[in-house]
Structure formats: structure tokens, C-alpha cells
Amino acid sequence: MSKLREPREVIREEPLMHAPILAAVADGPLTVPQIAECVNAPTQEVVYWVMGMRRYGLLVESKEADDDGYFSYCAPGWQAPQEEGDES
């Protein structure tokens, strides 16, 4: 984990991070560590951004956490693309 920046400074960047984070989850829900890897930012900073985006309706979480204890986040209304030939 990297040295913590002040919350105000991290939070101030949230609007700037909307687009990169939405781009990261465009193909499917990701956990915070996965998003952090995509946007090349520390996980604790991504938590601020993801939770801010979730609060104002830009992201939604998965119903259950994975086996490691992480929820996944994606844009509201995201649906997995149907497999070719899958008519269900």
C-alpha cells in the first residue's frame, strides 16, 4: 500500500476518475482491486471514487461478495453480452 494522500485531495479527483472507472467496468463488473489495477491507482483511493460514484448512481454493486470478500461494481443496467447462439 502506498502512502496515504489526504482524503480531500483524493475525493477532489473523483469527477476526474468517473470516465476511467466507467471505462474499466464497461466490459463487466470489477472489484476495487481490479479497478485499481485498470486505472493505476491505489486501492484506498479507488474506494473513495467507487463509493462516491455508487452514492450518486453511477455504479452499482453485485449482490454477493466473491470468495475473497470483494463485491464487484459496474454501471447501472450493465448486462453481460449474450453468448453467440444463446437464445435464452
Binding site: 477532489r12 473523483e14 469527477p15 468517473h18 472489484t31 485499481a36 455508487r54 454493486e61 470478500g69 463485491f71
Partner: protein, 928 residues
């Protein structure tokens, strides 16, 4: 019960009328609306007393409403607090002032006079429906104090979901310095925050709200906003001007030529306005009036509109197509531009059906050097050269030696244009030194980079000619004397010191002046049209003037600001209104200081400044634009450096999207005085700042949090979607509590027990085990203080549920690579061994500190405090709630640590004391 037949007097009981007939007199002032303040207010109001409740936040409820549950019953905190909040707000005998602070209380006979500052909310609460649209569109994110800084809220915010009243507020700390510095009143912070949020078109539209010249200002403005940018005190200013250009470029590249109005326009109002001159002031004035439904005609002397934007600023700085695109914004609204039309009697234009006229003809005349030989072939005026070039009639200077006389921006433009026309040598001759040059620093530097030479401390003495052709410029050597009216040291001739600078061309660029001919009767002694500087109205009521024609040569932004002002005043004059109310420039909030902004953070991360990329050739050969636009990545990075000085950026997104039209950016705060009979101080407490125990790592390790933060994570309105650790949003499985953080600890100056930390920790232990059934909870404690009805049973219940309790102080917390934490502690029950354990998350059970804001409440009397700075109760055993000031009472934790149950009890005691006091001092007196 109460005698309601008595005459109303300060501090007197009044009947519960449900109204507020006399809104300056109250029986009781209650300061603070936490559970102690609400309880006091409701009880007193139920007894018939008229209560004024003052709360500094936007909602009543204090800290209790933010808790998850209460101990030992595990009742929902909201379920208990919510009805009390509602009763408080709706009680007919309680007047609540939220977002207000008591500025001072003074004695007034047996009662008091309280001064209350009501802060502006910038929202019309009567109209606000609490729908939260403003929050969703707001472009500024700040830490949410109602979520203990665990998450972000917006500058436009509703305090919390259960807020009472549930109304929005805009957090505005002042005008941001960039906005405050703009003479055009353009909301720089606003468009920067919009670009940061990816709202490039909205950023364009925000500038468009002020002027159609978005692309122009993005290139040719000298950006006073950047000079005042707080970030300049760190690594350098953010590229505010280039962000404006970025927004304009994005718009013009995407939208192209408008095929309809580019902004919303009021329906035609039947009035006609003539604007004389199409420079930045005239274009802006026309723009503003056209938006208001006026039929505007611009009358321009030259063959194309734009004034100096087209005919003086060279296209390598401001391409003509940018000027054309900006002017197309204007014509999209139906503004007619009539070129090749000189106006010699602007006041007489009413004879052509115009209802008002704005003169914006700028400074059209060049000041001459007034030296012998100035009429020689090869001696010319800089403005004429620039106009020639702009008009497509550029002369060929190939191989010529050029001397440009002057030190302003026009001189720099002339010098650089001369280089582009092929001049072999260009020298700027200026009578002062480089430091006194009026040209913008960057212009002089760019000129030098393009091969322009400078000779300072020389004034023109005569143009030297042979056979009628220029061969040189005789110059007088100068020295600097005392400062003149401009504040610059005045140039004085050195006697007998003259020499000749060899030249083929001498170009004068020594100054600009107004041509007063069209308004000779209205000109002042400097030839400028005489106007009231606030209203821009001349002595002829229907004739207004804007821009440089009123003040002499300035710059584009000042002209734009003046054009806006003139339009505003013309509009008001035509509506028969007083000529004032120009809020864009005259009535802004005070500009917040950079120091105040920088004081919000202890440290700032370094960010590489984003600067414009300028390509300068030592021998430029064409008029290609020299400055490159920002890339989208640079634009985002540049905007991302903004410090949000004023907090609210004035981006207008809330204003534009509020379905109730409730946003009131011009709302003002008010200071009110009230007469009250008694005062209840219910200001509560502060929480211990956990970073004062650095060995516990709060603020250093993300997975070390406070008890209040855990309560937020456990609350139904939690900031995360579950109980997650802040370091990586993982559900924690091993959670440790460290009790007595900041309590019973002389090393941090607080030997007192905070009384409720053990119990809230026990509460949270149980709630965590409910929320995270697989989690292990361990509490490191000194001793468990569970003194209260059913408290001990509550403790036992936690143990029975599986919580572990380890007696002994925690010495240190360290972080592992994966964000887990290692606690090093004393294990007293196992022989006092030093042990270490690993956890996912550590909760510091922080204690409380006195709220010393109470020290500022009273002006002419002293509210005594105990040795720990809580409000003193001289006879706490016999008269709980009574303070050292007769008529002043204290309720709740303002007097010392208490849990919720004890706070309510204490408030009840204070209420009884208040009732007795009022009865004794007022009811009897009036009845008698």
C-alpha cells in the same frame, strides 16, 4: 401550566399560537440541535415556552441521527431520533434556524440579546423538494462530514438521507480567486470543474453565458485568473485559459456552424437596440441583449466585424476563423451586423427606431510619436500595418531593418508580424526598461524568441530620412526618474545623449486613443466618452457606452465585462428599473484567500503543471497559430489540478438542472438579533482526533478507522454497500477494537473517561457479528465500564455471541503489505506477555473532547468552564444544568461526557432549571 394572558415581553412565556407573530422575542434560546438540544427544545416548547433553536448544520439531529443503533436496546438510532427531529422542526413553539451560528450573546436586564448569523443556503428552501438532482449533477466532490469523511459528498448537498428539513444547500466558501480576478465575470472555476467532469460542452456553454467570444478568449486573453490561481503557490497555475480554448475547440469541432440559436433566447420583446462597434465590448453587449429578446443591430465601420480581434491581433495568436466562429454564435441569435457603416451621431440613432444605443467603438486612433520626419516614406503606424495584414494586404518586408517604437502588446504584435513579413532585423525601442514594459511578459518573451531585439531606455527623437525615405531613427537616451502617475519610474532624457538606430522602416506603436468625433459633446478631457462607471450611461439617457471608448485601452476581458454591464443596464433602463443589480461583477461573494484554501490540507501531492505548447521559430515565415491546443489528456490533467477554492465552482449545473428552480446563487446571509429570557447551551462535544495517537496509524493506514466511522459503516444509510474496509473494499473477517483511544490518557492531555466508548464498542461488536456472521471481533481494553441499566448484561451478551476481550493496552499498530494490520499489545490476563495479532480492520474507540466553541458564545460575561474545558456546573449535584451565569443552562455533553440516556436526563434537568428561572424572573415580574 402557563399564564398566557400576560403581555408579551422579552423572555416571557407566550401562548402556543402556532405562528410567529413576534419573531424577535423568545423565552429560550437553545444552541445546538443534537439530542440534548432537541430534547430541551421539545420539552420547553411542550410546556408552552417559545423556543429559538439555532443549529450550525443544515439539518437538526446532531450526531445521534448518524449512528447505527443505540445501546443497550439496539434500537435503531434513526427510529428514535427521527421523530424527535420532526417534532423539533414542526413544533409550533419552536423556531429552528439551521445553517446558523450564534455570533454572540449579551446580557440585557434579566434576559439576553443573541446575535445569530444565518448563512446563505443558496437554495430557496420553500421551493426545494429535496429531490437530490443538484447533488447528482454537481461537479465538485468534497469529504462528507456526515459520513465521517469515509466518502464523498458534493458541494451541492442534502446533509444526509434523513435530514430534517430535507433540503439542499450549496457549500460556498467564497468566490474562487480565478473568478474573482476575471474582469469579465466569467466563471473560470466553473468551466474548469466541468472539463474535469468530462462535461466539455457544458463548459463551453458556461463561458457562453458571459460572452460569445469563447474561442477568442481561449487564445487571446491574458488570463488574470491564472495569476490568482491558488495552485500557482504550489507547482504552478492550472491552464485555465487553455481549458477555455479546449472547450471551445471541442464545441466548434463537434457542432460546426450553428443552424439555430446556440443558447436559449427569450421571446422577442419588441425593443430595438443599436450597438456601434463590433469589438469584444460591442459583441458581448449585443449577445447579452439578444438573449433577452431584443432585436440588436451592430453597426461596424470596417468591412468585417470583430474590431481589434480581427484587425489588430495577428492570426498566429488569434486565427480569423476562431473570431468568425465566435461571431457566428451571435448571429445565430438573429443579431444583425451591418458593416461598412460609420456612425457619426450615435445618439441620433433613436430616429431610426432604436430604443437605446450602446457605443463600443474602442480606441481606434493610434497615438503618434510626434517627432520630426514621421511622415517620411517608410515611417508607419503599427495599427495600420496590423490592419493591412489582417485585410490580406500584407506588405513585403523581406530583408528590411525595422524599428518598432513602443513597449506595449501592439508593439510586440507589430514586431512579430514584421518578422513574418520577412524583416531581416526587428528592434523594439522602448523608453523605459524591460521591467516597466506594459506588454504582457509572455508577449515580450515570445517576440524575443522569434528574433526580435530590444533597445531599452531610448525615446524617439526623430525619423532620419534620405531622399524622403527612412534610413534610421534618432533616439534620445533616457534614464529612470521618480515614479509617475502609473506607478512606473518615469523616463528622463540624459542630456546630450542621442544616437541613430539604422532602419529601413520605423513603425510607431506608442499608444492607442479614442476617436471622440462621433460623440464630441460627450467626451471627457481625454477624448473618451463620459459615462457613469457603474451604469455606463452617458448624460443622454438612451445612450450607453462600453469598453475602451470609456476608459482607454485595456484588454479583451475588461471590454467583455464592460459589454456585459452595458447590456444589463440598458435592459434595466428599458424596463424602468434602477440601474444596479449587476451581480456578475458587483455583488460576488468575497474572494477566498489562497492561504485559506491551502490551510484545508496538511500536505499536497505534487502535480506536473500543464502548460501550453508554443512553437516559436527564430525567423517565423507564416501566420500559423503558434500555440497548440491541449490534448484531451492534458485538459483533464490540468483541470484535475484545480483545488476547488470556493468549494462550489459556480458551474451552474445545479441551477440548470433543478426541476424546482430553487437555486439562488445571489442569496445573502443575514444577521439577526433576538431577545431571549434564558439560554440553553447544547453544543455537544468534539470527537478525539485519532491521528494524535500516531502509534495507532490513523491517517497513515487506511484500514484503521474510528468508532464513529464504524457506526457509519453499520448504519442503514452507510456510505459503502456493506461493512467493508476502506483500504480495498474487502469484507473484513478479523476486526479489532482499541478502547480508550484518547481517553484516560495523559499523553494526549485527557485523563478523563469518555464514558460511552466501551458501550458503543460493545454495541458495534454485536452489530458486526450480525452483519458479518463469519467475522471475528476482538476488543483490546483496559477495563470495561458498563455502568448503567442493563449495560453489564449487554457486555455479557457480546461475549456470549463470540466477541473476544483482551485486557491490556495496545502499544502499536503496523501495516502489512496486503493492508492487514498487526497489533502489538500487552495481554494482562495471560501473564502480561507482549503479543501480536493480525487483523483486517482496526477500530479505534475514540473518546470525546470538549467543544470549546462555547467560549465564543458570550460577549460581556464569562461562561465558566471546568478544568477540562467543559461548561462548568457549579452545583451539578443539586442544580444540574445550571451554569455560572444566571439564566444560562447547559444540556448534554457540553458539560461533560455522557451517553444518550444521560444526555436526555441532563436535558430534562436543564429544562426544569430553565422553567424555574423564567417563572421566577419573568412571569412573576410581568404578572405583578
Amino acid at each position: 401550566m402557563i399564564d398566557t394572558d400576560v403581555e408579551c415581553a422579552p423572555g416571557q412565556l407566550v401562548e402556543s399560537t402556532g405562528g410567529d407573530a413576534d419573531n424577535t422575542h423568545y423565552d429560550v434560546l437553545v444552541v445546538g440541535s443534537g439530542i440534548g438540544g432537541m430534547e430541551s427544545s421539545i420539552k420547553l416548547a411542550d410546556m408552552g415556552y417559545k423556543v429559538l433553536l439555532v443549529e450550525k448544520e443544515a439539518s437538526v439531529g446532531g450526531r445521534m441521527i448518524l449512528l447505527s443503533k443505540v445501546f443497550p436496546t439496539l434500537d435503531c438510532a434513526s427510529c428514535i431520533s427521527g421523530p424527535k427531529m420532526s417534532s423539533t422542526i414542526n413544533h409550533p413553539n419552536i423556531t429552528t434556524m439551521t445553517l446558523s451560528e450564534v455570533a454572540g450573546i449579551e446580557r440585557d436586564g434579566d434576559g439576553f440579546i443573541a446575535t445569530v448569523d444565518q448563512k446563505p443556503k443558496f437554495v430557496d428552501w420553500a421551493a426545494c423538494t429535496g429531490c437530490d438532482v443538484c447533488q447528482k449533477v454537481c461537479t465538485v466532490a468534497v469529504p462528507d462530514q456526515f459520513n465521517a469523511d469515509l466518502a464523498a459528498r458534493r458541494a451541492a448537498y442534502i446533509a444526509f438521507p434523513q435530514a430534517v428539513p430535507k433540503k439542499a444547500v450549496l457549500e460556498r466558501a467564497g468566490t474562487s480567486p480565478c473568478i474573482g480576478a476575471c474582469p469579465a465575470g466569467i466563471k473560470a472555476h466553473g468551466y474548469v470543474s466541468l472539463v474535469r467532469a468530462g462535461k466539455d460542452e457544458e463548459a463551453f456553454q458556461l463561458v457562453l453565458d458571459a460572452t460569445p467570444l469563447v474561442g477568442t478568449l481561449g487564445r487571446a486573453c491574458y488570463a488574470p485568473c491564472e495569476a490568482d490561481c491558488t495552485r500557482a503557490k504550489l507547482e504552478g497555475p492550472i491552464p485555465i485559459r487553455l481549458l477555455k480554448r479546449y472547450a471551445a475547440d471541442q464545441h466548434y469541432a463537434t457542432v460546426g456552424s450553428p443552424d439555430g440559436p446556440v443558447v436559449r433566447v427569450s421571446p422577442p420583446n419588441g425593443k430595438k437596440i443599436a450597438v456601434v462597434g463590433s469589438g469584444p465590448a460591442g459583441l458581448t453587449a449585443a449577445w447579452q441583449l439578444a438573449r433577452r429578446g431584443y432585436a440588436v443591430t451592430i453597426l461596424e465601420k470596417r468591412d468585417k466585424p470583430g474590431g481589434y480581434l480581427r484587425y489588430a491581433i495577428p492570426s498566429y495568436r488569434l486565427p480569423n476563423e476562431v473570431v468568425d466562429a465566435d461571431i457566428a454564435n451571435l448571429t445565430s441569435l438573429g443579431v444583425e451586423i451591418v458593416c461598412n457603416t460609420a456612425v457619426d451621431d450615435p445618439a441620433g440613432l433613436t430616429g431610426q427606431g432604436y430604443d437605446a444605443v450602446i457605443v463600443a467603438t474602442g480606441t481606434q486612433k493610434a497615438t503618434l510619436m510626434d517627432v520630426p520626419g514621421e511622415d517620411a516614406d517608410g515611417s508607419m503606424v503599427g495599427l495600420d500595418l496590423l490592419a493591412q495584414v489582417a485585410g490580406g494586404n500584407a506588405p513585403d518586408f523581406t530583408g528590411r531593418r525595422v524599428v518598432v517604437v513602443g513597449g506595449g502588446n501592439v508593439a510586440m504584435d507589430v514586431a512579430r508580424v514584421s518578422r513574418r513579413l520577412g524583416a531581416a532585423e526587428v528592434k523594439v525601442a522602448y523608453r523605459r526598461t524591460k521591467d516597466e514594459m506594459p506588454a504582457h511578459q509572455v508577449e515580450a518573451a515570445d517576440a524575443a524568441a522569434e528574433g526580435v531585439a530590444f533597445e531599452f531606455l531610448v525615446a524617439p527623437a526623430g525619423v532620419v530620412a534620405q531622399d524622403g525615405h527612412v534610413v534610421g531613427l534618432r533616439v534620445q537616451t533616457m534614464q529612470l526618474g521618480e515614479p509617475d502617475a502609473s506607478g512606473r519610474r518615469s523616463p528622463q532624457p540624459v542630456p546630450g545623449a542621442q544616437h541613430v538606430i539604422d532602419a529601413d522602416l520605423v513603425i510607431s506603436a506608442v499608444g492607442l486613443a479614442v476617436d471622440p468625433a462621433p460623440f464630441a459633446g460627450l467626451a471627457d478631457n481625454r477624448g473618451r466618452i463620459s459615462v457613469d462607471p457603474k451604469t455606463l450611461q452617458t448624460s443622454i439617457p438612451h445612450l450607453f457606452a462600453a469598453g475602451d471608448v470609456t476608459v482607454g485601452a485595456t484588454d479583451i476581458t475588461q471590454a467583455v465585462g464592460s459589454g456585459r454591464r452595458a447590456a444589463h443596464m440598458v435592459h434595466r433602463w428599458l424596463k424602468g428599473q434602477s440601474l444596479d443589480g449587476f451581480t456578475a461583477l458587483d455583488d460576488r461573494l468575497e474572494t477566498i484567500s489562497s492561504d485559506a484554501v491551502l490551510a484545508r490540507q496538511k500536505a499536497f501531492g505534487h502535480r506536473l503543471p500543464i502548460r501550453g505548447e508554443v512553437t516559436l521559430a527564430s525567423q517565423p515565415s507564416d501566420f500559423t497559430e503558434v500555440e497548440a491546443p491541449l490534448t484531451p489528456q492534458d485538459a483533464k490533467a490540468g483541470a484535475g489540478s484545480c483545488l476547488d477554492c470556493g468549494v462550489c465552482s459556480e458551474c451552474q449545473e445545479c441551477f440548470n438542472n433543478c426541476p424546482a428552480w430553487a437555486i439562488r446563487m445571489d442569496q445573502k446571509g443575514e444577521t439577526k438579533k433576538f431577545s431571549v429570557g434564558a439560554v440553553v447551551v447544547a453544543t455537544g462535544h468534539k470527537l478525539f482526533a485519532a491521528d494524535l495517537k500516531p502509534e495507532y496509524g490513523f491517517g497513515q493506514f487506511p484500514n484503521v478507522i474510528t468508532g464513529m466511522q464504524m457506526d457509519r459503516l453499520l448504519a442503514p444509510t452507510r456510505p459503502f454497500n456493506a461493512v467493508l474496509r476502506p483500504g480495498d473494499a474487502k469484507m473484513p473477517e478479523r476486526i479489532a477494537y482499541v478502547s480508550c483511544t484518547g481517553s484516560r490518557d495523559k499523553t494526549v492531555g485527557n485523563p478523563l473517561c469518555s464514558k460511552f466508548c466501551c458501550m458503543y464498542s460493545l454495541k458495534q461488536n454485536q452489530l458486526i457479528m450480525g452483519a458479518l456472521p463469519l467475522a471475528d471481533v476482538t476488543m483490546h481494553y483496559i477495563d470495561i465500564r458498563a455502568a448503567g441499566k442493563r449495560y453489564e448484561e449487554f457486555y455479557t451478551q457480546g461475549k456470549d455471541m463470540g466477541a473476544q476481550y483482551i485486557k491490556g493496552r495496545v502499544a502499536e499498530i503496523t501495516q502489512q503489505d496486503n493492508g492487514d494490520l498487526t497489533l502489538r499489545y500487552e495481554d494482562i490476563d495471560n501473564g502480561g506477555a507482549i503479543a501480536e495479532s493480525s487483523y483486517d480492520l482496526v477500530v479505534l474507540a475514540v473518546g470525546i473532547r470538549p467543544n470549546r466553541d462555547v467560549e465564543k458564545l458570550f460577549k460581556d460575561v464569562t461562561l465558566s468552564q471546568d478544568e477540562y474545558f467543559y461548561v462548568a456546573e457549579p452545583s451539578a449535584e443539586l442544580s444540574p444544568g445550571a451554569t455560572t451565569i444566571p439564566g444560562v443552562f447547559v444540556a448534554g455533553t457540553a458539560a461533560g461526557a455522557k451517553d444518550i440516556v444521560d444526555t436526555i436526563l441532563h436535558a430534562g434537568a436543564a429544562v426544569a432549571q430553565v422553567a424555574a428561572h423564567l417563572h421566577h424572573h419573568f412571569t412573576q415580574e410581568v404578572t405583578a
